[in-house]
């Protein structure tokens, strides 16, 4: 049991509003990721859920119980911190058992619980060590163990991987996903890394300037972003957003790009002749053929990034840049002229002024 719901949360420090009217429902057992750039309020929101920060208005409920006024220890939550926040003077076992000790649990029982958790996380040989004698990855694991041992309703993670090196990050990410599958505990996870968000989250909440921009399953957000912010925040390399102008051709809308290319948008878009739009297409939905050709964007390659598994092409068209990505290896060189052909069914159109998505009508 561990649903979390936030109602109309507002938070201001002095005169600055950092959280605006956030409402969120997180179901029991769900893995929810809060993502956003720094200053988006994601950490503040997590601290509000933890009870470390007070709300200005609004309510926080855990398991259907209003906990807005309760201190952290009465909220049945555990938290994993970015810096791990292990007590340096306590051994691993003491760190993990500290909350249970404060709660007045008998010593033997604490030892037993700590041992169980340690076994699960393969921390048993480290129990008597001090945090300073552990590697970064081990510390991270201890800080998770400290949360798990309490068997809370909700886990809160505050950027738990950002202090690890790249390789370890991938490994621990897998372990966290694993753990969630095994324990099934509701988890709320703050990150600024969209890969973590996409791989871990069952629900992703994109925040900007203290507001929820969009919330939903990862692929929904990826495929169906509500605005340019969400579209460009998720996915690497980031989505191409090309300034364009709508031209209506017998009920079908098309986009006139700055270089003069005219690309079809398909029917049913809610737009009008002459409207300034952003033509959005993800790099992996851009096809590429050598030489100049009709029906695409002619561009010159200025960089080729090859990671072995992926190829990313950065190219200059007249007045804008386009990137394309694909899996297969192709003999492309900088300076080469190519034609880029977007997959018209994957195009996402946004209003240039507001950045809001212009959707297609389903019925047409």
């Amino acid at each position: 049991m561990g649903s979390v719901s936030l109602h109309n949360i507002n938070k201001s420090f002095k005169a600055v509003d950092v959280i605006h009217d956030v409402a969120l429902e997180i179901e029991d057992g769900e893995f929810c990721v809060l993502i956003g750039p720094s200053g988006s309020g994601k950490s503040t929101l997590l601290r509000i859920i933890a009870g470390l920060e007070e709300v200005t208005t609004g309510t926080v409920s855990i398991n259907g119980k209003d906990v807005t006024e309760l201190p952290p220890k009465q909220r049945d939550i555990a938290m994993v911190f970015q810096t791990y926040a292990l007590y340096p003077q306590m051994t691993v076992a003491e760190n993990m058992g500290f909350a249970l000790k404060l709660a007045g649990m008998p010593k033997a029982q604490i030892a037993e619980k700590v041992r169980q958790t340690a076994r699960m996380l393969e921390l048993e040989p480290l129990l008597e060590r001090l945090p300073k004698a552990l590697s970064g990855g081990q510390r991270q694991r201890v800080s998770m163990g400290r949360a798990i041992v309490r068997d809370p309703s909700v886990f809160l993670f505050d950027e738990p991987l950002s202090n690890l090196d790249a390789k370890l990050r991938v490994q621990v990410r897998g372990e966290i996903a694993d753990l969630h599958r095994r324990l099934g505990t509701t988890s709320i996870y703050v990150t600024h890394d969209q890969v973590e968000a996409m791989t871990l989250g069952q629900k992703i909440v994109v925040l900007r300037d203290g507001r929820v921009e969009q919330a939903g399953p990862p692929l929904t957000l990826y495929n169906d972003p509500i605005n340019t912010f969400v579209a460009s925040f998720l996915g690497t390399p980031s989505i191409n957003l090309i300034e364009a102008c709508v031209e209506m051709r017998g009920g079908e809308a098309a986009a006139r790009l700055p270089d003069g290319a005219l690309l079809p948008l398909g029917s049913g878009h809610d737009c009008r002749e002459g409207q300034a739009i952003l033509y959005g297409i993800r790099p992996e939905h851009v096809g590429i053929v050598a030489g100049g050709q009709e029906g695409g964007i002619t561009a010159t390659i200025h960089a080729v990034e090859n990671t072995g598994s992926d190829m990313v092409i950065l190219s200059d068209a007249q007045g804008f840049r386009v990137s394309a990505a694909f899996k297969e290896q192709r003999p492309l060189e900088p300076g080469q002229t190519v034609t880029l052909i977007p997959d018209h069914s994957k195009v996402r159109v946004f209003d240039a002024g507001s950045g809001k998505r212009i959707r297609r009508h389903e019925n047409s």
Binding site: E54, E69, L70, P71, Q74
Partner: protein, 293 residues
């Protein structure tokens, strides 16, 4: 529990501060205010005190004994600051490093800095005993110099007391300089060597600029210690002979506790306090200006 109640949460910091606030209020703030108030009165033991306005302060500006004591204090401050600063810098340069024998020597010569002034004063009285049997006089005797009066000679007494202060301060300041030296980026020395700088140039262009914060602390400590000096003088000479070593604080002490002229003593104390505060403000301002450049 009560401290979780939102309404009472503001009390938490004050509960933690309460013990400190009580002792500070009763033994610092109240005496400061009381001293300030007293300085406007003539304090009498029978009957109520008499308001005298600024008379105590006016008297301070025309009190020749106080002027003499102030002059002695200035001599004391300037010489302990300059001589103490230069000597401790030299000692720090001589004893810089992490070698074991150097660390042991540093620890050993620190003994005067941790010994109480009362003990140091007794040692000084033995070393500078005016008779022929005194340690220093015996040493001088080797060079065929007649026994000196030292602290019983009005011409020498102040100098001997100043020496005591320097003796105590040098090891203390040395440790501050050593810490300052350790904080200088080693690469600056390497860069200077690559640039072909001589040892003297390194000292001038790398070491001394790097020690500015240490100098600042040492000078400030010397100034504050110097202006408020009491125990060093009181336990060695008591201000004598013939008031030759009388400083502001011993003068105040005698005015207050021997002549029971509390109001006047409080007024002079207040002037000294105000002066120390000004000195600190000047120091902080100068330091900030240096930091900014």
């Amino acid at each position: 529990m009560w401290f979780h109640s939102k309404r009472l949460r503001w009390t938490i910091p004050w509960l933690f501060l309460a013990p400190a606030l009580i002792v500070f209020t009763w033994f610092k703030f109240v005496p400061i205010i009381r001293g300030l108030v007293m300085s406007f009165y003539k304090v009498r033991f029978s009957g109520s005190d008499q308001w005298v306005g600024l008379a105590n302060f006016e008297r301070a500006f025309s009190d020749s004994a106080l002027h003499a004591a102030t002059l002695n204090t200035l001599i004391y401050v300037v010489s302990t600051t300059i001589a103490g600063g230069v000597l401790s810098f030299a000692v720090a340069m001589a004893l810089e490093g992490q070698a074991r024998h150097i660390r042991i020597i540093r620890t050993a010569i620190f003994i005067p800095a941790v010994t109480s002034i009362a003990v140091l004063a007794e040692i000084w009285r033995i070393l500078f005993y005016p008779g022929a049997t005194g340690v220093v006089n015996q040493m001088l005797g080797v060079f065929a110099i007649a026994p000196q009066g030292f602290m019983s000679d009005p011409d020498q007494a102040l100098f001997i007391v100043i020496l005591l202060q320097i003796w105590k301060n040098v090891p203390y300041n040395m440790v501050i300089f050593i810490a300052g030296l350790a904080s200088i980026n080693r690469e600056l020395y390497d860069a200077a060597s690559v640039d072909g700088a001589s040892a003297l140039r390194k000292l001038w262009h790398v070491t001394i600029p790097g020690l500015v914060p240490a100098f600042s602390v040492v000078i400030m400590l010397s100034l504050i210690r110097g202006f408020r000096v009491f125990t060093e003088v009181y336990t060695t000479t008591g201000g004598g002979p013939a008031d030759a070593t009388e400083v502001i604080m011993t003068n105040i002490f005698k005015t207050g506790f021997e002549r029971f002229d509390y109001g006047y003593a409080a007024a002079v104390s207040f002037l000294l306090f105000a002066f120390t505060v000004c000195l600190t403000i000047v120091h902080v301002t100068v330091k900030n200006r240096i930091d900014r450049t």
